[in-house]
């Protein structure tokens, strides 16, 4: 089920030069799993903007977004008490009901936010995930402490090695000889492709596509999977590695 409603901004602040954290107040009863997303109406733009739910409780939603174009620029100018029209409860989200002992959560840039509520859920399920976060540069790092405060082991890669492992998230995995029996990933497509091809275990990957509706009506976001055409906004955004043709 979906919900369309006006949500009130509680806070909206930069975490880095280009990445903002926004907390909204409103009904979250249609959000049922970590990894779901919302579609945000932007004044004077035709299409809504899809942003993953980073965290939520019974009446608030946390979003983390990067300023890319006009929609996200507009969002970054909003103040507390401004309202946004959101569709919530979109997408399948991550499935945490998987027999797993030691999952890896791998995020690249603004692919990291949905892993937060996932990590929270796993912790509730008594599973302690390892978090691997990939950034380009040190000044882009965000949410390290928040993951650590869940009790998670957090490993970081930066392109220049200024923090953590030099290189990519895959270098973190190799260099640290991590043991894991499952993985969850969200981030840029090239990262997801490499993970699909190099990690031996099954896993879940969250994809992005340009969307028309965000709720399954237009077929604008369909991708080909091993089990046929699937809508990123409806059957996804989270897919099983074994189902993807990346």
């Amino acid at each position: 089920m979906f919900k369309k409603g006006l949500y009130t901004i509680v806070s909206n602040q930069p975490l880095t030069k280009t990445i903002y954290k926004m907390v909204l107040q409103g009904d979250t009863c249609y959000i049922t799993a970590p990894g779901q997303f919302v579609e945000i109406e932007i004044p004077n733009k035709f299409l809504r903007r899809p942003i993953s739910v980073c965290d939520y409780d019974k009446d608030s939603i946390t979003l983390i977004y990067k300023v890319i174009g006009e929609g996200t620029s507009f969002m970054s100018t909003l103040l507390p008490n401004n309202t946004l029209d959101l569709l919530t409860g979109l997408g399948n989200g991550f499935n945490t009901d998987i027999p797993q002992k030691q999952p890896l959560l791998i995020g690249g840039g603004v692919g990291i936010p949905p892993l937060f509520s996932l990590a929270k859920q796993l912790t509730i399920n008594k599973i302690q995930p390892t978090i691997i976060m990939g950034f380009n540069y040190a000044d882009e790092i965000f949410y390290r402490k928040e993951f650590e405060s869940l009790g998670c082991n957090v490993l970081i890669s930066t392109l220049d090695g200024s923090v953590g492992t030099k290189g990519y998230v895959t270098d973190v995995i190799q260099n640290n000889q991590l043991t894991y029996d499952y993985f969850y990933a969200c981030g840029p497509l090239p990262m997801l492709k490499v993970l699909c091809h190099t990690l031996p275990t099954e896993g879940q990957l969250s994809l992005e596509e340009r969307m028309g509706c965000g709720f399954g009506a237009c077929m604008g976001c369909s991708i080909e999977t091993k089990s046929g055409m699937k809508r990123v906004c409806k059957e996804g955004p989270v897919f099983l590695k074994s189902d993807l043709k990346l």
Binding site: L87, F215, C218, M219, E224
Partner: protein, 304 residues
């Protein structure tokens, strides 16, 4: 106050019909509201074979509209009849509009024969205009001859009312509509999407993987309205007006231009409640403009 209209014997409680391709097979919208309030709805363009459509990105944003190049992704007519219609029956209790596409006359015939047997289908809408498919779709809609051929062919295999849905990307929409009328069409649906394009300045290439696509949304309303006006002046069969409608005001304007019913496309994607909201607002707006019965205003702008 009377909102009901009649499309060749198909009585609609109101003239509001979600347009093909923006309402799936109804399933997604039942989670937003009870879709039985609609006049009817047109299901996703369906072809003989299942189609996976075009590569992504398939969507580009425009000022007051969007471009899509979905490319008629659909599960194929058999699957629609076997899975979608029975599912639909569980939550939609009105006749539905079957939107049919094909890449040859035979395919059109095949699909129409199939849907002709479905009691749930109240009207067949034949899309000869989809601009996303390299062969077929576009070409049938761009000449009067081929449009007439398709019309004649499908009319011969069904007793249900057949509406031909035309492409606006033509020099002379009236000639094509008249050819369809003469070939036996029961009605005309105007318009499908306009051919459009956007370029991503960062990547320096088209946003859409297929380069171009179908442009629709509020931006195209004046073009759709003009075509409905022109065709309703030249033809004597009912018209479903479509293109850019986003308000009860637009619905009335489209009906004054000559439409008996209207379809709402792109706006469903932006605001899934748009059809519900328009149906709710119609009585108030009718009152404002002194309209007691919607049938009274169909084509009234021609009287001057």
């Amino acid at each position: 106050m009377n909102l009901s209209v009649n499309l060749c014997g198909l009585k609609l409680d109101n003239p509001i019909i979600p347009a093909s391709g923006t309402f799936g097979y109804g399933n997604e919208f039942k989670d937003f509201y009870d879709i039985n309030i609609l006049g009817s709805f047109a299901f996703k363009g369906t072809t003989k074979e299942p189609r996976s459509g075009n590569p992504t990105p398939r969507i580009a944003e425009c000022t007051n509209g969007l471009i899509n190049s979905v490319g008629l992704q659909n599960p194929g007519i058999e699957s629609v009849i076997k899975h979608e219609l029975p599912l639909l029956r569980t939550f939609f209790h009105k006749p539905v509009i079957a939107n049919i596409s094909g890449f040859s006359i035979d395919e059109f015939i095949y699909c129409c024969e199939k849907v002709d047997k479905e009691p749930q289908v109240g009207l067949i809408e034949v899309n000869i205009s989809c601009p996303n498919v390299k062969y077929g779709g576009m070409s049938f809609g761009t000449t009067a001859d081929s449009a007439a051929q398709v019309t004649q062919a499908v009319k011969s295999v069904t007793t249900k009312p057949v509406f031909i849905k035309l492409s606006p990307n033509v020099t002379d929409i009236v000639a094509i509509a008249k050819a369809c009328e003469n070939a036996g069409a029961d009605g005309i649906c105007l318009i499908n999407t306009l051919f459009g394009m956007r370029i991503d300045l960062n990547r320096r290439q088209p946003v859409i993987a297929n380069k171009m696509g179908g442009f629709s949304g509020p931006a195209i309303f004046p073009i759709a309205l003009r075509m409905v006006y022109q065709v309703s002046q030249a033809c004597n069969i009912p018209i479903i007006g479509c293109g850019g409608i986003s308000s009860a005001h637009d619905v009335i304007e489209m009906m004054m231009a000559g439409a008996t019913a209207v379809q709402i496309g792109a706006m469903n994607l932006k605001n899934p409640y748009i059809c519900k909201e328009i149906i709710e607002q119609l009585p108030e707006v009718m009152e404002k403009f002194g309209i007691e019965n919607l049938n009274d205003i169909i084509g009234i702008a021609h009287q001057h």
